[in-house]
Amino acid sequence: MKHLLSVTDLDAAEATALLDTADRLKQALLGREVRKLPTLRGRTVITMFYEDSTRTRVSFEIAGKWMSADTINVSARGSSVSKGESLRDTSLTLSSMGADCVVVRHPASGAAHRIAAWTDRDRAVTGIHTSIVNAGDGTHEHPTQALLDAATLRERLGGIAGRRVGIVGDVLHSRVARSNVFLLATLGAEVVLIAPPTLLPVGVEEWPCRVSAELDAELPALDAVMMLRVQAERMHGAFFPSSREYAIRYGLSPERAALLPDHAIVMHPGPMIRGMEIAPSVADAPSSAILGQVRNGVHVRMAVLYHLLAGASS
């Protein structure tokens, strides 16, 4: 693995290997007083975030630090980016300083692909190899989120293949949904997208999933339901009439959550808007895997850094 730009960079074996590594790292750290492995000592990981983020940035930083990598955080504010430097120049600058890995979040879809193309081109001249990890690019993908979701499904449901996962809400603008649909399909899950037609992408019928507008009809047969955040700015785009109607039709209320089978889990990539897409009591119930997702996020990102920087393939 050279870069992690899209979940489609991974076949089922590679994705499973990453999840297995995450499990092993989790076990290795379990009960340790000093949570520090020497694995990536001397390696430099730079996170470069052009969008606000708490969990993803911190998760990558912890992942790096627990494996003894030197982690450095760059944000678009307070850097040369605010002086008008191009994405190309900023990324080549960080790469030239010797970053082994650049973890990037950017509002433009495809930004991580472009950075990988630029640094690969530069590598031909300098010989410096920099791995690029996509930590969310526009409305395109968020591969490590999908991997941590897969890790959580596997942990809580005992497997992924054959399980039915519902993804509910703003699929159109969701990089989390895109990464999940394709990764879960690769791993053999059955994915159902549940959303009003306005929040489904054109051409979704060609994705490896099924589409439904009726949440109540789908819930009884789901093994997991993944609620997507509804961004306030979507209100102005006439995607749905009101937040009230959205909550009524697509919010996961306690009554609705009761329609799920007993073994089913509730997931959310965060940040949650309690009372909009998910009721507080549902988010905090035993069936909720939301904080488990966050915990697994660290281990999955450790696994990604490990596979990229330590050259492990299995």
Partner: protein, 428 residues
């Protein structure tokens, strides 16, 4: 000044010799000697066509000289076989007054490689609010015959209606960039399977069709000439067919890239493929080819849009839309239309020279290859094959989507009023 062209095949037909004197074809026949000291062009095996006319070029001057100038763009035009180009008004300052259009015209004449006809803005500053002084520009030294807010759509139906009505008395054409911008807010790519997967906000084909339908209705009422820029969607063809059947004075152009390229190229996120309107699907390119062959689309126009590297070598969303077109247009037309048998060389002359000259109201271009006609001519090697390299193109920018492609047909000479402006890939 005399020129003899030997053994060239007009429209790909039987070889003849041509004598050109003082910019006019004076004799056509076999074994013409020509006067002492006449320049001789060997046209053996080559196709002779009327010089190409491009209704849609961005020369970027004034204001965008880091991407193209009238000099570099004229060179690209001559090398591409063009003898006349229409320069779009989205410059800085905008070509919305006689001062700017006369400047562009004069710079074109100074360079002298191609007739540069400035297109005037329909509205002041391309803002879509207030009609520009169309009559003053039309009657200026620049003799503006086409008006457009290209890059932007004249969106307000009242402004569009008045512009069409007003233009009808001036014998000029309004060229519309058909895009309902309310439907394309934030648009980055053709709304379809590819853009959805890539997370690029869609540019729905309906945003084009609805404006074309509306403007055809307005043009019918106004009795005005309407030209639709860069048609990209198959369903727009249906609208054009209906309008033409009803006698609306509407004409339309397709770009070479909408004949050849599709949104399948977008997966690399390389903004060299970013253009407005966007690359669409294979079904759309197929429909464009058929419509061009049938005449529902009248002409090929390049939408030559140079952008310096700093505007293109960026993340997709930040990149400016547009691609080079002048030097690759003929080859793409040969590849997509001539090779599959959709057009013969008469057809190429029609869509790249004759119809554009009619639409743009240029009496001396797109004329028959006949005695007494102006010698605006292009000589093409139909068997030539070349590999496109952006850095070797004459444009200042190198944003060609055809980089590395091997394409058929080369322009071996371009002749503007009897003077050779380009020969064997060199500006003359």
């Amino acid at each position: 000044m005399s020129l003899v062209i030997r053994n060239a095949r007009p429209y790909g037909e039987e070889p003849v010799d041509l004598l050109v004197e003082d910019g006019v074809i004076t004799e056509i026949g076999a074994g013409l000697a020509g006067p002492e000291g006449a320049e001789v062009l060997d046209g053996a095996g080559q196709v002779l066509l009327p010089g190409f006319v491009d209704l849609h070029t961005h020369l970027r001057e004034p204001g965008g000289e880091e991407s193209e100038t009238i000099a570099t763009g004229s060179a690209a035009a001559a090398l591409g076989g063009y003898t006349a180009v229409f320069a779009m008004p989205n410059t800085d300052p905008v070509a919305d007054s006689e001062v700017v259009v006369e400047h562009v015209r004069r710079r074109g004449e100074e360079v002298g490689l191609v007739d540069v006809h400035p297109v005037g803005a329909v509205t002041v500053g391309l803002e879509g609010q207030k009609m520009a002084e169309l009559g003053t520009m039309a009657n200026s030294r620049a003799q503006v015959r086409m008006f457009s807010d290209d890059g932007r759509c004249v969106h307000d139906p009242v402004i569009m209606r008045r512009a069409l009505e007003y233009a009808s008395a001036l014998d000029v054409v309004i060229a519309q960039h058909a895009e309902d911008h309310r439907l394309t807010v934030g648009a980055q790519a053709h709304e379809g399977v590819v853009a959805s997967r890539l997370g690029l906000t869609g540019w729905p084909a309906t945003a084009e069709e609805t404006i074309v339908a509306r403007d055809c209705a307005l043009a019918r009422e106004a009795g005005a000439a309407l030209h639709i820029c860069h048609v990209s969607s198959a369903r727009t063809i249906d609208v054009l067919r209906l309008a033409k059947e009803q006698g609306v004075r509407v004409t339309a152009e397709v770009t070479p890239h909408h004949l050849l390229l599709t949104d399948a190229r977008l997966t690399s996120y390389d903004p060299v493929n970013k253009v407005n309107p966007p690359l669409r699907t294979a079904a759309d390119t197929e429909a464009m080819r058929t419509a061009l062959a049938e005449g529902l689309i009248d002409v090929v126009a390049t939408d030559h849009a140079p952008h310096a590297a700093q505007y293109k070598d960026t993340e997709w969303a930040a990149a400016r839309p547009g691609m080079l077109g002048l030097q690759t247009a003929l080859s793409v037309v040969v590849h997509t239309m001539v090779e599959p048998g959709l057009l013969d060389w008469r057809g190429v002359a029609r869509v790249m020279s004759e119809r554009p000259a009619e639409i743009g109201n240029l009496p001396d271009h797109g004329r028959p290859i006949a005695v007494g006609e102006p010698a605006n001519l292009t000589l093409v090697d139909p068997d030539g094959v070349w590999t496109v390299r952006g850095e070797n193109l004459a444009s200042k920018a190198s944003n060609t989507p055809y980089e590395g492609m091997r394409l058929p047909a080369t322009v071996t000479a371009t002749i503007l009023r009897g003077r050779i402006t380009a020969r064997n890939g060199e500006v003359a």
